[in-house]
Amino acid sequence: MNQPSQSEASRTLRGYLGHIEYWDPDGGDAALMLNAREWLEAHRSHLTAAEQADLAQADERLLALAGAAVGDAPDVAFLRMTAEAVSASRQRLAA
C-alpha cells in the first residue's frame, strides 16, 4: 500500500476545514467530510504540529455544528458520524 505524502495530508486537512467553514446541511457531500476526518485520523503523523493544532480547532467547530444540527437528513447524519469520530479521537488522545 502506498504511503500518503505530507502534501496529501495537508490537502485533506484543507478540505476538512473548508467543509466545516462552508457547511451546508443539504449539500449532499458531507460523507466526504467524514471520509476526510477518518483519513486524517489514520494518517495523523503526516500532519505538522501547526496542522494538528488547526485540526483540533476545526474539530471544535465541527462539534458545535453537530450540537446545533437538527433533523436526520443524510448530510446531518454524516455530520453526527464525524462528531462521533472526533469524540473517539479525543478519547484516544487523552488515554
Binding site: G18, D26, G28, L32, A73, P74
Partner: protein
C-alpha cells in the same frame, strides 16, 4: 385572424435516470448552465467553495468544465434507496449526485483510496442498486454535455 404556433406532436425529450436533458443550444456560460441544474443557488455557491477547499476545482467555471466533461463520459448509475433517495451518475474518476427530480445535488472526484458512494450510503442503512447506463443514455449524455 390569429396566427398561432402549430402544435405538432413533439418527440419525447431524452431523459437520463430522471434528468430531462435539453438539447437546445444555449448562450449561457457553462457555470451558469451548471448553476441552473443545481438544487439551488445558495447550495451551488457553498458547493463551489468546498470543491475549491478540497482542491477538486479552482473556480466555478473549472467545476462546470469538469462536471460537464464527466457527464459526457458517464458509464453507470447507482441508486441509493432509503428515506432520502439519491442517484449517483458515475464517470471515470467523477461522481454526480442527482435528486429525485433530476437536479444536481453535488459532484466530486472519486478518490480510489476513500470510501465509495456505495460504502457511504450503506453506512446510512441504504440499499444501493447499480447498473450500467444504456447505450442510448450514454449517447444522449455525450451529445448534451460533450463539448469539452
Amino acid at each position: 385572424m390569429t396566427v398561432g404556433v402549430r402544435n405538432e406532436p413533439q418527440p419525447p425529450r431524452p431523459q437520463i435516470v430522471g434528468v430531462p436533458l435539453s438539447p437546445q443550444p444555449t448562450a449561457l456560460t457553462d457555470e451558469a448552465r451548471l448553476r441552473q441544474l443545481w438544487t439551488n443557488d445558495t447550495s451551488f455557491d457553498q458547493h463551489v467553495k468546498r470543491r475549491i477547499a478540497y482542491g477538486h476545482a479552482t473556480s466555478a467555471a473549472h467545476l462546470a468544465e469538469l462536471s460537464f466533461a464527466a457527464l459526457a463520459r458517464a458509464q453507470s448509475a447507482q441508486v441509493a434507496l432509503g428515506e432520502y433517495p439519491v442517484t449517483a451518475v458515475e464517470s471515470p474518476g467523477w461522481a454526480t449526485l442527482l435528486t429525485q427530480d433530476g437536479r444536481i445535488k453535488t459532484a466530486y472526484p472519486i478518490e480510489p483510496d476513500r470510501p465509495s458512494f456505495t460504502d457511504n450510503q450503506r453506512r446510512l442503512g441504504c440499499t444501493v442498486n447499480e447498473s450500467a447506463l444504456t447505450e442510448r443514455s450514454v449517447q444522449d449524455l455525450a451529445r448534451v454535455f460533450g463539448t469539452h
